[in-house]
């Protein structure tokens, strides 16, 4: 009985904890890039111009309609097959591009962009029409309206949904383990195949993910309370309390 616990605590956990930065790096890199892409995507999606709207809608359909794991394989094996034949092979980027990590970041970012873009789109459309009309009546240009009125309001509206997305992203990063990335799950799988202990590495990884999700949720809740007037118990009645709480 004591044997497996010793193995878990003294042998497995240190290795898994050492892999936590990789999981966090995947989460924050993909979260930052994906959310940066989400804004132009959402704007294109509600643009009156078909040239912008159609590709954006198609992109979102493709990325949300196929499994993330397929997207990861498509990018890792597909791009990995094409890149060596090009100039990239001899450029300074090559050492990075051989590593599964960057393929995972790339795939996760594209995926996050689609999901967050769709959330942002619905938030942009949920901004009360009167506020936009008032801004127009004040003589603000379209660009100013977006910057000072629509966007800040939309971000406030979709903050709970966005933080839910970030938690889902943290969990999704574990798929990177299938393309040789040594994140928490990747390390657990490695220990599992090397040591022939099946349960301890997976149990240890589970403990770490639960802790990470718990900490991230608390952090995000605190941020939400700071930035969203609706959560501070202010005058604005809360209408969008549909966060994906874990």
């Amino acid at each position: 009985m004591g044997g497996w616990l010793d193995f878990l605590i003294f042998s497995v956990m240190p290795k898994l904890l050492a892999a936590v930065p990789v999981t966090l790096a995947l989460t924050f890199a993909a979260g930052a890039i994906g959310n940066a892409l989400a804004l132009p995507l959402a704007l294109a999606r509600i643009s009156p111009r078909l040239v912008l709207r159609l590709p954006a809608a198609l992109y979102i359909l493709l990325l949300r309609g196929t499994p993330l794991l397929v997207q990861i394989y498509l990018i890792y094996y597909g791009l990995g097959q094409m890149l060596p034949g090009t100039w990239v092979r001899h450029s300074f980027l090559w050492p990075y591009l051989r590593d599964g990590f960057w393929y995972a970041v790339f795939a996760l970012s594209l995926n996050v962009a689609a999901y967050s873009g769709e959330i942002l789109r619905s938030a942009l459309q949920a901004v009360p029409r009167g506020e936009v009309e008032a801004a127009r009546a004040l003589g603000l240009s379209a660009r100013q309206i977006l910057r000072f009125v629509t966007l800040p309001r939309a971000l406030g509206i979709c903050l709970p949904a966005m933080s839910g997305e970030l938690v889902l992203l943290l969990k999704s990063t574990s798929l990177a383990s299938t393309i040789t990335v040594m994140d928490v799950l990747g390390t657990a799988q490695y220990i599992r195949t090397q040591s022939l202990h099946t349960y301890e590495p997976l149990l240890g990884a589970a403990l770490i993910y639960v802790a990470l999700v718990f900490l991230l949720t608390r952090l995000l809740n605190r941020l939400e309370r700071r930035f969203s007037p609706e959560k501070r118990g202010g005058k604005v009645p809360s209408r969008h309390a549909t966060s994906i709480s874990v």
């Binding site: 394989y73 997976l202 874990v246």
Partner: protein, 239 residues
């Protein structure tokens, strides 16, 4: 495989992977449907537990949803797949069924269903709570037995509220079924794609074919669910 065109490769000819992909698609759908049905069962149990008056029952329901939803699906699938087969095999052995081999299919479906059940619990619980109290009370006042109240009055109304959530979860499980490819030993859609890609070295092409098939499932399902939603909403006055 020197001169096969890409078209030949996805066809049903001697060089084609068409038959394998068709088989993979069917297996993926089988996994998804079975896991969904099982997940619905777990979801009903979970919703019942979370709404139960007994504290410890509610606590079990709460723990189930919180823990399962905090874990990555892939990790939980691996845990349940490996522990589940061993534990269930031993259990069935103990009660006298002899040494039992759990098939990979059954193990994967059980694991996916258990995971889906936690998300299902939340959808069904919300739907149950959306039914006006008077409905159950009226049914009891008419003398229906508890099972009848549930089957004839609560369940049909609950389904209408739950349908959008249930539709989303169906789309999720068709995609999560792809995780089964990591377990190995089952030639579902993604495993077939990986096989074909590795064998022919046409990675980009075959993973695109795989993605297209998953996309087709998503699109057909979305259309079907929106038809179903309209059908269940018939006879309801539009607000």
């Amino acid at each position: 495989m020197p001169d096969a065109s890409l078209w030949d490769l996805v066809g049903f000819g001697p060089l084609g992977w068409g038959a394998q992909f068709l088989h993979g698609l069917l297996l993926t759908l089988e996994i998804a449907v079975s896991a969904y049905a099982l997940g619905f069962g777990f979801g009903l149990l979970g919703a019942w537990a979370k709404l139960a008056r007994r504290r410890w029952v509610a606590l079990i329901g709460e723990t189930y949803t919180v823990v399962v939803r905090a874990l990555p699906e892939l990790l939980l699938l691996l845990v349940l797949y490996y522990t589940g087969t061993a534990a269930l095999g031993a259990l069935l052995g103990l009660i006298g069924f002899g040494p039992v081999e759990i098939s990979p299919f059954a193990a994967a479906v059980t694991a996916l269903g258990f995971i889906l059940g936690a998300y299902m619990t939340e959808v069904l619980r919300g739907a149950f709570q959306a039914i006006p109290n008077g409905q159950g009370e009226a049914a009891r006042a008419l003398g229906l037995r508890p099972a009848q109240v549930f089957r004839l009055v609560l369940l049909p109304q609950m389904l209408r509220y739950a349908l959008p959530g249930l539709g989303n979860l169906w789309l999720n499980i068709t995609k999560d079924a792809a995780l089964v490819s990591v377990l190995g030993g089952m030639s579902e859609l993604l495993a077939t794609g990986k096989n074909a890609a590795g064998y022919t070295k046409h990675y980009l092409f075959f993973f695109s074919v795989t993605a297209a098939l998953f996309l087709a499932v998503t699109i057909v399902s979305s259309v079907a669910f929106s038809v179903l939603e309209r059908r269940l909403a018939r006879g309801l006055r539009r607000a």
